[in-house]
Amino acid sequence: MDRMRRCLLAGTAVWPIAAPVAHAQAPTKTLQVARGSQFKTLDPVLAFDDISSQLLLLAYSTLLCYSWLARPYRLQPDLLDRMPERSADGLTLSCTLRRGVMFPDDPCFPGGKGRELVVDDIFFSLRRFADARLNQRSWYLLEGLVQGLDEYRAATQLAKPGVDMSQQPVAGLVRHDSHRFALRLKIDTPLALYALANGATAVLPPEAVKHHGEGLATHPVGTGPFRLKDLDRKGVVRWTRNPLYHLRYPTEGAPGDEHAGHLADAGRRLPLVDVLEMPLIEESQPRLLKFLRGDLDIVGLDRAGTEKMVRREGGQLQLLPPHAQRHVLNQTASLAANYLWFNLKHPLLGKRKALRKAIAHLLNLPADIDTLLRGRGHHLASIVPPDIAGSERDTGDLPIAYDPARARQLLAESGFPDGRGLPELTLSSGWASTDWRDRFDFHRARFAAAGVRLKSQILDAPSFQKKLEASNFELAFYGWSADYPDAENFYQMLWSRHPAEGGNYAAFQNADYDRVYVASRFMANGSERYAHFRRMNAILRDEVTLVPLYSTVAVGLHQHWVRNVKRNAMVDGWQYVEIDTARRSKGLA
């Protein structure tokens, strides 16, 4: 052990000396990507919005993280040396920390010198995550999972602000030594692991909390791939590489990754660039113009940008000339799914399954995706987005077809031939955008052709959500974003024990569905679990609880000198991106 420690210390001691020599010869590699919105905080427990959650993962590390290249999304060790070992009953996860992971030098440490990460830091961070005085937004990730943690949270709820509760015992956090510990769970579930990859459970030292207090919002002290150099909430956030970062570029990926050049940097120490600059550019026009001029390396494309620069050919998106010679197109399906919800408590819709089926057959999703989304969408066949294990790719489900003739037949069966006698139906939504109005008009025309009259009700998002939770709607357009990339996160919405405020907006109650869901809930992915998913999809389709519509496909561009851009819906992963400085120096073609 001592020998290993000496080697590690020697290694870390060499870094600051060796690094400048190497960098004196190589040009500084700066990656420039825009932030589309302002971040709120870099405090892991307080961050909830997407941009804050992504930014803090540049400075902090979690016990586990998502593989950069694997699809469907898969967890891998980050601060842990290897994946947790499950006990025979599945209730204990034995974990070993990677050795030599160092916190950066910071005034919060004695003498300003950073120290090695140990188990106490993990426990401190998990207790802080569970503290009811701090975290109201992401607690659901570990709620009911770790022994003693719910009780600890209840105790913090009663404690006065500022009272230190970090030494209170938690039965489920068991320390073996400075680098080994166990998490004792209340239930045997692989889902607990996802929480350990979420930025909210990122690990920070107690010294930082004590020293910086609220200042943690803008002063991260973590073991992530980058260190914060300059921070201007409304301007540029500049990061420099953390020379002590512990992860390397993956050596294996998904099929096709090698051909696409995504394994060219396999095994290299991360991050690959020296500086990461993130100016705040909230409007899409200046973002795109800066990219086209070469001032940004990567940019996302909105609908207008896609219309101008991308065409759809043979179901594939392709860049139009002259952009195809200068830039590279990248895309990935999002981990959110949009649905048309039926309120099963509604006196008309709830009782007439044939009417719900007719409506499902009137939705022309392929044309919607082609016309309104310009190909930036995936027509869903199940309620799970395609890049999640257990989606239609594993179950073999097919989407509900647009079939006006069948819809007419079903309308007649439900007692409304050609829509006669059918009252006007209200479709509620929480988006006041032009896109939504276009989408509503598009589908209303098709519904009207079959004799179904639709009217739109647009509400602000919180009021709309209240309406859904109160089951006070007829039809609703609403989606679900994955909290973690597991199909369970989608199927749980319709579990009858979940009230509408837990996501069961349809007020769906089906004993068969419940039974299959409970059986599949904590099962490891594989053919047995996928068979359960297939069964649940069949029930949902037969009952027409909701209609899976589409998952949006995020489309973006990167410059030809940028490598390893494989868009990942779970992490931004700027540490994996590489710049070819020789190609960049030649500029845009």
Partner: protein
């Protein structure tokens, strides 16, 4: 004068109280629930209750209103719901940036508009007058958003004369502000010239102007010495009534050019449901409006001795 000032101050206090009450009630009655907006799909009852308590939204309405009034009196609007920043600092910093964006083109626009209006009035009825009317009416008909998009694309991206966006402190700001200034000038000059031209032409027909001409004064002297001073009141009204909006900045410009002013702050707060920021900006705008209205009245007296304030 003192009695007038006291009366106006009393009225101003009543107006500010009314605005505060209306702002408070409207936000509570019609604005989306900020707690649910923040929690999104994880808004379960316990998290909603906890966050409501953390933000003080579980207190009785009267208590919340009293707190809001005391914040106005002390110019301390608390902290942002979203990032916990001190609002006084946030708004103070934003106001200086917004003033840097709006004041130079405002002053330049005022001088240019009056000068052009005088020039056009001098050539009234001629081809210059007709051409300028066509140009300015055409310019006014184009949305400000079009100016922003087209000039950013043309002058900054295509020609590279200006940076596409960005901002820097100190003198470095000049580099980034030139194009926004140009756009603000282009947007404001049309309506101002039209208004000032009409005001000047009304005065041109006045008896004292005819008398000045009859005494042999040149047309230029008539315009500058006799017409312009008498047209000052409408020009002052228009100018002073624009002043509060200078502090508020330009929503579009600040957004498109990534300028961290009040306009950008308001748009972001709307998007994030950061109601303390919106309430503070609404009340401060009302205060600015009341203050500048008072200033307008005082300037009337200075510009026109016929106005008696007592």
């Amino acid at each position: 004068m003192t009695a007038f000032l006291l009366r106006r101050l009393g009225q101003a206090l009543a107006v500010v109280f009314g605005v505060a009450l209306l702002t408070f009630l409207l936000f509570h009655a019609f604005a989306p629930d900020p707690v649910r907006a923040a929690l999104g799909q994880h808004a379960n009852p316990s998290s909603v209750a906890a966050l409501r308590a953390q933000w003080g939204l579980d207190r009785p309405l009267l208590q919340q209103f009293w707190l809001f009034l005391s914040q106005i009196v002390h110019f301390d609007f608390g902290r942002s719901f979203v990032n916990g920043d001190d609002l006084a600092t946030l708004i103070g910093n934003g106001a200086w940036v917004s003033l840097a964006v709006t004041v130079p083109p405002f002053i330049a626009g005022l001088l240019i508009s009056v000068a052009v209006a005088l020039f056009v009035a001098y050539h009234r009825g001629g081809w210059i007058d007709r051409l300028s009317r066509a140009l300015f009416v055409g310019g006014m008909s184009v949305s400000a958003l079009v100016y922003v998009i087209v000039l950013q694309y043309g002058l900054a991206y295509k020609l590279g004369w200006f940076p596409i966006n960005g901002f820097a402190g100190g003198w470095g700001a000049l580099h980034y502000l030139l194009l926004p200034w140009l756009i603000l000038l282009a947007v404001s000059i049309g309506p101002d010239v039209r208004l000032y031209r009409s005001v000047l032409l009304n005065e041109v027909r006045a008896d004292h102007v005819r008398t000045a001409r009859a005494k042999g004064a040149s047309e230029a002297r008539v315009l500058v010495r006799h017409v312009l001073p008498n047209a000052a009141i409408p020009i002052l009204t228009n100018t002073v009534s624009s002043l509060p909006s200078l502090i508020l900045g330009s929503l579009l410009l600040e957004r498109f050019f990534s300028i961290p002013g009040i306009g950008d702050l308001v748009v972001s707060s709307l998007a994030n449901g950061d109601f303390p920021v919106l309430k503070a900006v609404t009340v401060l705008s009302a205060l600015a409006l009341v203050a500048f209205n008072l200033l307008t009245d005082l300037l009337y007296a200075w510009a026109d001795p016929r106005v008696r304030l007592a």
